[in-house]
Symmetry: none
Subunit: 419 residues, 2 copies
């Protein structure tokens, strides 16, 4: 074991393969390696995908050597002509390729066990940069290797995902952290209903503070994730910062211990012994589908209706023909009637009614695409909100469903505090 | 329009965001851009994911300038402190940032339309490198821009996928290939209900044929995509190969012209003047949500019920207490009763009933997690299938919903052919 592997704190990843730059395959290997390294406290600072040209591989290896003390490569270790990672690493290290006797014996055994004979092109896979440590690959024919180039360690692994994953877990992580690694020091907060710019202003001082944890903001289609992590400080500073950030994001932030909005809604309802039902028009079942993704949702969600047509609204809910005629299906009156109707019909504590125009057709100057009415009916009465959303149909539907659950989540947690 | 954009034949991509190197998000934006550029004959030679440190962004921009005459960046254009792509590109170009009056007007209009006022941090988004051409972003607040640095064009786009995608299609591709480019020579076939190994054997000869189009297989959680593309050959060979591959994949392959399963179901129902309704238990509204994602679904889908509890099944559908007692809620009898009940209740041509155990709790030795009964009721009677699915809760639910629509799709297309 090299003496300084445990001092490595950051790494770069180089993935080789024409399919990774021509749109034929997404590089999920790098994502896997990022997570595994994060779990032992090593940050990935750069990932690259390139084809299989040797000049480009050598240039990338040279550049990445100056970026991080550890470079992990995937791909380019196969038996064919276009597998050039062995040559590229050898050239970068300034050493020749040499046959590794143990690698050759392993290859020959692999083929013998399958009643085949290793061909000359297979045997190319036993050639390693001189001085490299072989990393056995029990799941395939291409061994990996590890070689030091000045102060950088280069680890080359095959590109086949299940081979690479096994080698990361069984060989690379134990080499990097023989004592088993530190605990993960990362906290994610999900935030709903706050524009990114407002959020950014509220947490600006922590994002700009070089002495505190790192704070990153990622906008998704219907919510924002704030992630805090801490490479060097202790867990106390991280916890303190989390608490301070939660305080300025109230009430838009999921409560501690929940990883999704719907999970918090289901669990709060269980704690309170309450239930909910939904009546959906423009979201067409999406709100129900999101809630029932949570294991155990059946305890709080006896059922729901999707009333796309006006006839179904009248037949199933407390909606009248005259209200539809007077206000139109997309209106506060109808959303309220749907919420109250489904609550009564399913005998639940809460009822949610959703009606709107998700597009791309159906908008009018008065009610453009993105106009959505949502109503929440509960023990203390019914409240209503009109949303004006933008984006394609799928985004409007998603934002509506998320808003429906977020408002209920807030109602459930405020009442909890008050009681 | 720059005079030499049509001579660009290769490109590099730089994606910025801490979440892309810490294992929190896979960079699917680069994959999208690779495919779109390939469709107009531009090869991507290198992709990079980095965090949001300005020094590293500048270094990457410098290095990528020497790799390709076009560099496309994503991310880092938001309103917060950690959005540094504008500064990095300006520094690389050796120019200051300047407020772009049109960008500012667009931002102010965006906020005014939503009844809000742009904050100072929002207005940072109107700052562009001096001399850059603004690329409007009709779907969000961050405009993109294009700037020439010596002989390289740098195009910076936001990281939010649907904003970025629209700008690629509406602004970047038309700039690169004003004449419209070559025809897109790529065909994707969605395949449902065929194991990947069986599919691989059936199309092996086309995958191994170096004289024909490229053929790639991508397995998703509930379907497989087969992609064919052809950079140099004519469209005839591609069309011929597609036809031959379709023939060996029948009946598991979407019909020509449809890009999703649910789109084909909705459109076939519209053509036939028919309708469908669903009664869902374990999928909790997911089948309805997937169908109603298709624009125009309201014409064929008046409504649906989610009957999670037994009481709701009895009250809403043709389900009896004695059947529930005798067969259990997860049974052929109940699935059939749900399908027939919802068909009658909603007065639709077709009715689909779904009941099963999605897990992780609720399995028994007799009915393990993944046991799902689906029934399809139509003019000629009711058919039923028992599924035995594996995977986590979300995957079991997704596979069930997809199977429900795939079976109906096949019924609708067989009858079409027969009639």
């Amino acid at each position: 074991m090299d003496s300084d592997s445990s001092s490595i704190t950051h790494a770069a990843i180089l993935a080789s393969g024409e399919e990774l730059v021509t749109g034929r395959r997404v590089d999920t290997n790098s994502h896997f390696i990022q997570r595994r390294l994060a779990s032992i406290g090593i940050s990935v600072v750069q990932c690259r995908q390139v084809g299989d040209g040797i000049e480009e591989l050598v240039r990338c290896l040279e550049e990445l050597r100056s970026v991080a003390p550890l470079v992990i490569t995937t791909g380019g270790l196969g038996p064919t002509e276009d597998d050039r990672m062995r040559d590229a690493v050898a050239r970068t290290a300034g050493v020749p390729l040499e046959e590794d006797p143990a690698a050759r014996a392993e290859l020959e055994r692999f083929f013998a066990e399958r009643g085949r004979v290793a061909s000359p092109s297979n045997l190319r896979q036993a050639q390693l940069p001189k001085g490299a440590a072989r990393l056995p690959n029990p799941r395939g024919t291409a061994p990996g290797f590890r070689v030091g180039i000045d102060r950088t360690s280069v680890i080359s692994l095959p590109g086949v995902p299940f081979e690479m994953r096994g080698m990361i877990d069984e060989q690379v992580l134990p080499w990097l952290r023989p004592e088993g690694g530190e605990a993960i020091r990362e906290i994610s907060l999900q935030v709903v209903g706050l524009p990114e710019s407002v959020l950014g202003e509220r947490i600006h001082r922590w994002m700009a503070d070089p002495s505190g944890p790192e704070v990153a903001v990622t906008a998704h289609e219907a919510w924002i994730t704030v992630t805090l992590w801490n490479r060097d400080g202790g867990p106390e500073l991280l916890k303190e910062t989390e608490k301070a950030i939660r305080a300025v994001l109230e009430p838009h932030c999921l409560s501690d211990g929940y990883s999704t909005l719907e999970e918090e809604v289901v669990n709060r309802l269980i704690q309170r012994g309450e239930t909910v039902s939904t009546a959906e028009s423009c979201t067409g079942g999406l709100a129900a589908a999101r809630l029932t993704e949570v294991p155990g949702a059946s305890a709080v969600f006896p059922g729901a209706v999707v009333t796309y047509s006006n006839a179904e609204k009248v037949r199933n809910l407390a909606v009248t023909e005259s209200d539809l005629e007077q206000h139109g299906a997309v209106s506060e009156t109808i959303a309220r009637a749907m919420a109250e109707g489904v609550r009564q019909r399913c005998q639940t504590t809460w009822g949610i009614g959703i009606t709107g125009i998700a597009g791309p057709e159906g908008g009018t100057p008065d009610k453009p695409v993105g106009t959505v009415h949502v109503a929440w009916s509960g023990p203390a009465g019914t409240i209503h909100r009109r949303l004006r959303l933008s984006g394609p149909r799928g985004v409007i539907r998603l934002r509506t469903a998320v808003t429906a659950w977020e408002q209920l989540r807030q109602a459930l947690s405020v009442e909890d505090r008050g009681g």
